[in-house]
């Protein structure tokens, strides 16, 4: 077995038994990066020098016994490029930030650093996390390792592709409307969007602040649990982080799911969804029943309004958040004849088409005369969507759905039609609007050998139930063990 294909817990065992060194592991990963990155294009920045420096420091700490235990010591991870890493380029895959070196560290990665992780590189994404295919990157198009002519999903397509390609042991992504779960599903890996407020957003470049969350993308559920234990928890630097205690998520691993109630929302099995996806997901539900879960049909009646609600709210928040890119304090500046001309030149040159489109849409929705009709209306529908979940969770413990209506689509297939692209998030978006946690795990493959994802949704701050069910399913199946031939 190659070291680069290890999971976090497998690498931990070998490191603890001194069978390998941190540098062996890092070296193996860069050998893999050198072999496949040209085809996959998952990284915006490869931090080779920093990684070997971090590995050196960690090994010194191990030798000097200042750092003896911890699941993440010496584990190489990739980080999505909208998460600030001090002293390292953080571009959000945007030309407007192509030279931005973060002067501070995000809370999530600070916690990884405390635990002794090694940064392999920063991963490609749709510019400012706006997209579902990673084709909106200002720099490059990331490929799906299962089929290089297909998209990896998005916006965390670089992170998901890097994990599936074994270019890192695991990764962090961010999820505003499905940006962790959908690429995880399309790349055949595990992706968790925590409850809104569970993980600090400090240092996550803001797209839609009431929806954004950082979360793990990993090769299996156990690794997601390991990362969740580290990145979760209250942070005084993020006033929207929840002041709640964090359970030890490892406690759920191996718990049986007998008697747990899983809800199957009828609105998620609709005309037009891919037949193979439907068959795999229904098969997975049967599998969960055979493990003792009780499936119940539930209704989330406002599901059909989620995409419209989301694209009003997310673009409105984005148009406000992205006002900061004015060429004055950081990033690109394109001089003009006066201040306003400089602003407009800078933004016209720095932003790509999808970002401009969303800024326009959000500005429109918030502009005088339209605010009530769009923004306030969408906020009210958001309440209805949230209540749908509250009602369903009075009856069931976990909700099960497909993660995405189709497997990975072809490069260029949806890029010319933004609305079609937006509709590819149809099963993931409600989760962000309601603020509840959701995980995607592999549950099958199409006849073209493309991965299919199963989504499990939980109550607010009940990541434990979805992790418990996800782990039980994973133990009973082999899907997560398949790797692409690269």
């Amino acid at each position: 077995m190659k070291l680069y294909s290890l999971t976090i817990s497998e690498a931990r065992n070998l490191l603890d038994r001194k069978e390998i060194s941190v540098k062996d592991l890092v070296r193996s990963l860069y050998e893999r990066v050198d072999a496949v990155e040209e085809r996959v294009k998952a990284f915006v920045t490869i931090t080779r020098d920093e990684a070997f420096k971090m590995a050196e420091e960690v090994e010194k700490e191990i030798t000097e016994k200042t750092k003896v235990t911890g699941p993440l010591i010496g584990i190489p991870l990739a980080i999505k490029d909208n998460i600030c890493t001090k002293g390292i380029l953080t571009t959000c895959s945007s030309k407007i930030l192509s030279n931005f070196i973060s002067p501070y560290e995000s809370t999530a990665t600070s916690r990884l650093i405390e635990q002794g992780y090694v940064l392999i590189g920063k991963t490609n994404m749709d510019e400012f996390a706006m997209g579902s295919s990673t084709e909106n990157s200002g720099f490059q198009v990331t490929r799906n390792p299962w089929n290089l002519e297909r998209i990896p999903g998005g916006s965390s397509g670089g992170s998901a592709s890097a994990v599936a390609s074994d270019e890192c042991i695991a990764a962090l992504g961010s999820d505003t409307g499905g940006s962790i779960r959908q690429p995880a599903a399309l790349c055949g890996v595990v992706g968790l969007k925590p409850t809104y407020g569970r993980v600090s957003r400090y240092g996550l470049v803001a797209f839609a602040s009431s929806l954004d969350q950082i979360g793990p993308i990993t090769k299996n559920v156990r690794d997601a649990v390991i990362l969740m234990n580290i990145i979760s928890g209250h942070d005084p630097l993020d006033s929207t982080s929840a002041p709640l205690p964090v359970p030890d998520f490892t406690a759920v691993l191996g718990q049986e799911i007998k008697g747990i109630k899983i809800g199957v929302p009828k609105e998620y099995f609709i005309e037009g969804m891919d037949r193979e996806v439907e068959v795999s997901v229904k098969e997975a539900i049967k599998n969960l029943e055979s493990l003792g879960a009780i499936s119940v049909e539930v209704s989330l009646p406002h599901t059909g309004y989620a995409v419209a609600t989301y694209y009003v709210l997310a673009t409105s928040e984005a148009s406000s958040n992205l006002a900061r890119y004015d060429g004055m304090r950081y990033g690109l500046r394109v001089e003009g004849k006066d201040l306003v001309d400089t602003y407009m030149n800078t933004r016209a040159n720095g932003f790509g088409a999808e970002v401009k489109r969303r800024i326009m849409l959000g500005t429109y929705a918030l502009s005088s005369g339209y605010y009530e009709a769009y923004y306030r209306k969408a906020q009210q529908v958001r309440t209805l969507i949230k209540k749908d979940f509250e009602k369903a969770f009075q009856v069931v413990d976990v909700i099960v759905t497909p993660t995405s209506p189709t497997a990975a689509f072809k490069l260029g297939e949806k890029i010319a039609d933004p609305l079609q692209m937006y509709l590819s998030d149809i099963f993931t978006i409600s989760v962000n609007l309601a603020g509840v946690p959701g995980i995607s795990i592999p549950c099958g493959f199409t006849s073209n050998n493309l991965p299919i994802g199963l989504q499990l949704i939980g109550r607010h701050f009940d990541e434990e139930s979805i992790l418990k069910v996800a782990y039980a399913y994973e133990q009973a199946t082999e899907w997560h063990k398949r790797r692409p031939n690269l």
């Binding site: 002067p103 009431s210 309004y305 016209a348 932003f351 401009k356 326009m360 429109y364």
Partner: protein
């Protein structure tokens, strides 16, 4: 709903974006069809429904008024497109 070219230009100016003629054309038609899709929301009666701006029951999060860490000036200025020793340098604002 068809968004006029004037409307597109007005929104672009609010958003501080220069758009090319092709972009105005393209965004005009794309925003029109996206907004048509959003009309869906009007099928729902939302009278007396409270808007949700945020899912957590948190408001007015306060902290003690004590000195904490802040980013050193040199770090805060390190990405500036134009600067002096201590300040950002920006185009003239007051005419």
């Amino acid at each position: 709903m068809r968004i006029s070219k004037e409307e597109i230009e007005h929104i672009a100016s609010l958003a501080r974006l220069y758009l090319s003629e092709e972009e105005k054309e393209l965004f005009g038609s794309q925003l029109s069809s996206i907004l048509d899709y959003m009309e869906k929301l009007n099928e729902l009666d939302t009278k007396d429904i409270e808007p949700t701006s945020h899912v957590l029951p948190l408001s007015n999060v306060m902290r003690d008024d004590t000195l904490g860490y802040s980013i050193p000036r040199s770090d805060a200025l390190m990405n500036a497109p134009d600067r002096t020793d201590k300040f950002y340098r920006v185009p003239k604002i007051i005419k």
